[in-house]
Symmetry: C7
Subunit: 253 residues, 7 copies
């Protein structure tokens, strides 16, 4: 039905829904699977990528981006929209440095993105951004933070979270392993948790994973494809062993 409640202007349907916002959320749900994790001293972001195109230069296809030395972002949904948000956030982070002579906090930048998104849901002649963002980083006190924003402009802080196309068992994994993940003794363990989480959602298609680790006052470190590939192998084996153990258990009972 053209020009109805889900039409050009973001308006309420009779039962109080903003349909254009919900459809934008749908665009997010069609996006890549994304996972973020905050441990006590680092931020790990991971994202599933389309089957690598041998002709594509990997750097420009990266979905994990730096907003500032201490801030990283990844996203699920419309890539072109996301780039606008990334650029706006980068420029706001710079402007914050200039005006206040100190870096923006993770929440400041998150709030900036959330406000921008809400505005696009209430002003005529604009559509909502079809993007959900995971923003991670460190505040001046060295504390890591991980935030997520939605197309509606809602945002929350998380110890770990996921967005985009979601595998069935993914959230279960995250919640079951929440405390274990948050207290990962080193990066390697944290990265493995993130890969394992991605793997639960995307195991059936041969996609690749992009992962990055950010630590306090250290440069952003991309996890090398070789390491990722190795982890996938290890996890597959562990899963197989676990399955075999269960099988055996069942055989006994």
């Amino acid at each position: 039905m053209p020009g109805g409640y889900d039409g050009a202007v973001t308006i309420y349907s009779p039962d109080g829904h903003l349909l254009q916002v919900e459809y934008a959320q749908e665009a997010v749900r069609k996006g890549s699977t994304v996972v973020g994790l905050r441990t006590k001293d680092c931020i790990v972001l991971g994202v599933e990528k389309k089957a690598a195109d041998t002709l594509q230069i990997e750097r420009t296809a990266r979905k994990i981006r730096k907003l500032d030395d201490h801030l990283i972002i990844t996203f699920a949904g419309l890539t072109a929209d996301a780039r606008i948000l990334v650029n706006r956030a980068r420029s706001e982070a710079q402007s914050h440095r200039l005006n206040f002579e100190r870096p923006a906090t993770v929440e400041y930048i998150t709030r900036y993105l959330a406000k921008l998104k809400q505005n696009y849901t209430q002003s005529n002649g604009r559509r909502p951004f079809g993007v959900s963002c995971l923003i991670g980083g460190f505040d001046a006190d060295g504390q890591p933070h991980l935030y997520q924003t939605e197309p509606s402009g809602i945002y929350y802080e998380w110890s770990a979270n996921t967005t985009g196309r979601l595998g069935k068992t993914m959230r279960e994994y995250l919640e079951k392993n929440a405390s274990d993940m948050a207290s990962s003794p080193d990066d390697a363990t944290a990265v493995k948790h993130v890969v394992r989480a991605l793997f639960t959602a995307t195991a059936l298609n041969a996609n690749f994973y992009e992962l990055a680790v950010l630590k306090y006052q250290q440069p952003l470190e991309m996890v090398s494809p070789a390491v990722v590939a190795h982890l996938v192998q290890v996890i597959k084996q562990e899963n197989a062993e676990e399955e075999a153990a269960k099988q055996k258990q069942r055989g006994k009972s």
Copy 2:
């Protein structure tokens, strides 16, 4: 019916209704249950929260917010819209301090929010805010005030009120206990009244409650989850006893 009376512009239906405003009100009715109480020396706000997500950092999911040292707000409806209103109100409160060299009164900030909301119901190319707010605080004379605003821009002052998804017996509870609530001798009694009110509306689902107490020239105090949990237990027991007593009464007669 697309583009009709309930369409992009907030216009009158033939029987004199503004449907977009009523649909926004519907979005409020889908929101969390919220309760506010004004006693002779404090403001208590309480709000039902979705089942706690173990991964979510509780601070950013808070629905009770400070607008200024002497002003707090909570809301039912669209969270992203509410954040815009909260930010606008905060900035208006700051600007009031700068321009008039004294804090804004509770009614001043309420009127500011109400006017903003009405404007969005009459200007083309905007949708009404899908938010109902409870605003509490203290004026310079130390008197507590509690106001509520609707998506239409209507506002009233209350000794106690509720909004959002409403339980059947909630308003009954509020009205029956009105004078008792308003004259609560201490915070604890006031908080218990608020929890009991929330409990009438939401007893069947395992949601949590967020509560805050504001006193004159004192910092905002969030009620700890432990205290809330304890109160819920106490209330359950009291309800059970009361029910038993009634049962007994009925048995006699």
Copy 3:
């Protein structure tokens, strides 16, 4: 029929009607019953109120408002719209004092409101205000005036008038008692007339009345609920006696 003559823009229907204005008038007809009376030395405004909510602070729910020391207003229709009009009129009254160094006349403020309302019926992207106002007050020469404005922007001066949801016998009462009302020797008589008028329209539901009396160079006086309640009792009794007398008369004939 969406987007037709009664659509987003206030346009003419083929038979020369402005339907959005007529629908706004319908919103007025759904509003509270309102009565205004001008005697030789005072203005009395009366308005029916919804069943009092025991939790609501009465002051903010008042429907009779001061625009300036010498000007009062009440209204039927959309409360949030009315507040905008009240605020605009108040600020215009202040600005008149500053620019002309004397208070605005009652007609000046009425014309200001009427023009504002007409403008909203002719400009695109706005809906008419769903409010009918009764404006009363005194000019510099001590003469009382009572005006009424409609959503269309029409206004007239009246010795007494009513708007909002109208009882059947109300206008009859007003017209029959016109000269008697206008020449009320004291406030009490005038107030009783207004209560009686309200009573004709609203006797069947248990609503309350809010009344105010404004005299030249005196502060606005709200009639106390006790006085109102007493008057209602007196009127009920008088009506009963009158009815009995009629009955008797009929018996005889």
Copy 4:
């Protein structure tokens, strides 16, 4: 049919009509009957009024208005629209006095109103004014002029004219008595002509007439209701006599 040729924007229908302008003209045709007359030394305006409301203050319900000391106006159609036009014309007349240090001519003000009206038929997001005006007055040379403007913005000068709801025999009367009217030796004769003209159109309903006489460099004079009532009586009697004479005539033949 929504949004068609007679829709929100004033556009051409396939046969070259501007329907919104024609519908506005329809609103005029639903208005009060209005008559204007220019004699060699005065302007007489007359207008039918709704049955007098005993509560209404007659002054504000007047439909004959002064634009300046030497200019008067009356109108048929939407009263709220007309007030806007009257205010705009008044303020233009004042501004002309200030800028040119002499009063505006009757045609200057007429042209101003006509241009304003045409503009509302060609700009998007506006509806035409639903008002036809009769504007009378004196130029600096002491010559009286009478103009009429239509919703389209068309205007002409007339020795006598009428607009609004038109009685069948009215225009006949005006044309038959044109030269007699224009050369009325005194005001009384001119006023009687105008009443007689109004009477032809409105004899069946018990409406009242409002009349005004403007002479060169003299204050505007409203004809008193008593005089009007007397004239109506005289005219009724004359009509009856005339009818009787005709009847007799017919009897003979």
Copy 5:
């Protein structure tokens, strides 16, 4: 069909037509018949007028207007629109005198009007002007020029032309007598040609003609109604004689 190719915005229909422009042209075709003639030393404009209203002051109903001392205009179509164009052209002519210290050429003013008209066919939220203009006048070198503009903004220069409601035999007359007309030895002959042309189109209805003659550096001269009436009589007689001669001719053959 609402909002289609012939809707609020002037857009192309699938076969490349601008329907709103064509409908505006239709409004022209419903207008009065207008004729313009350029001889070697004068411009004659003639226009059919509605049956004279005995009450109307003839001057304001004139359809032939002066734009400047050396420029005249007449038009067919919407009178209110035409007045806007006339005013704009007059003010442009004045402004040209001020800026360039010499009068505008006839083509300059024509181009100005044509550009204004085209603009209204391409900008959103405007309708085309429903007017076709004949513009005549003299350039600084004493040469007469006659131009015509259409609602689309097209314009051409003509030795003689006509617009508005067109009689069947009119254009035939113009073309047959083109050279004769252009070389009229005196005004009287030129005026007679124009009346004859108007007469071919409008002979059946009893309308009147308005005619004007403009000569180089001489004041605009309106042809008196008596002269026009006389000419009509002469032409009728000549036509009758011609018809009789033809009849006779046919009788012979």
Copy 6:
């Protein structure tokens, strides 16, 4: 279908077409046939004209226009639109002279027109220009150039080209004689080629041709109607002879 893909805003249809642009192209296809030719030292433009109106002054009906001393233009499509483009281009050419102190190149002006046209296909509330232009002229180095622009804003340079209503055999003629045309030894030969090309498309209706020749640093020369008429005669005869020769050939075989 109103408001669809071919509606007010130029938008994509599902198969990626911009229909308003294609309809504007249709308006071009309904326009006059136009031919342009660039030889090694001159530009020849030719255009079919409607049957000459004996009353029309030929100069203002000219379709070949000078943009600057070294630039000429002709067009097919909506004449009023074309005039706007011609005026804009002229003023741009003047402004180029002032800003850069040298004449604009042919491509500069072409690009200016093309950009203007594209802009009207992408901005809301505008329709595309319904005009295709042929622009010819000389750059500072004395080289002739011939460009064509479309309603979409596309432009190319050509040695010879045609637009507007196209005869079947026209393009065939142009392509067959391309090299011969480009190397025409003198103007006369080039003009004859252009007339012959026009003749192939328009031979059946009795229209006239307007032709112009522009040479480096020489004034624009319009080809006289007599010369054109003579050429048409010659070509007719040559065609007849050629046909006879073919006939004979066929007879033999």
Copy 7:
């Protein structure tokens, strides 16, 4: 279906798609086949062209354009849209030189174009650009880069890529020969690869190819048609031989 999800404003369909963007992509898919290749020291762009028009001046029909001395671009889709993008990019490149006193990087210009395109997918009253671009060039360090942008505003870097109407076997060819292409020892080999790639997609229609080679700090070199024609011949022969060899192979097995 008019005004629906694929209507004037780019909005979400219920399943989260932006249809106007997808339709613009469709316009790209109707465009010419385009190939870009980055070797270790040069950029080669190739594009299929419509059958050459003998009258068209080849330079202005070129689809490979210089943005700056070190930047080239080609595109598939709407030519008029592409020209706007090319002009905007050129002017941005100039402005970068002025502001930063060094040439823009390839990615800077790509990002500029991508942002422009995204903006046209989110702002009301604009349609997306119907163009996909391949941008190649050298950064200050002498490194070659090749980027592609889509109508949505998405962009990536590639070692080789293609867009527009795609032949079935084209992408296969590109991927199979990726490493071979990237390491082409000389321009000739790289050009041959590009022709071969184009040939796979377009072999059946007799279109021509336009090719260009850009090397570090050297002028842009267009590959001559003769060379292209020769390459096509060579490739045809090689394909034939290869086919024959395969045939033979099959015969054996």
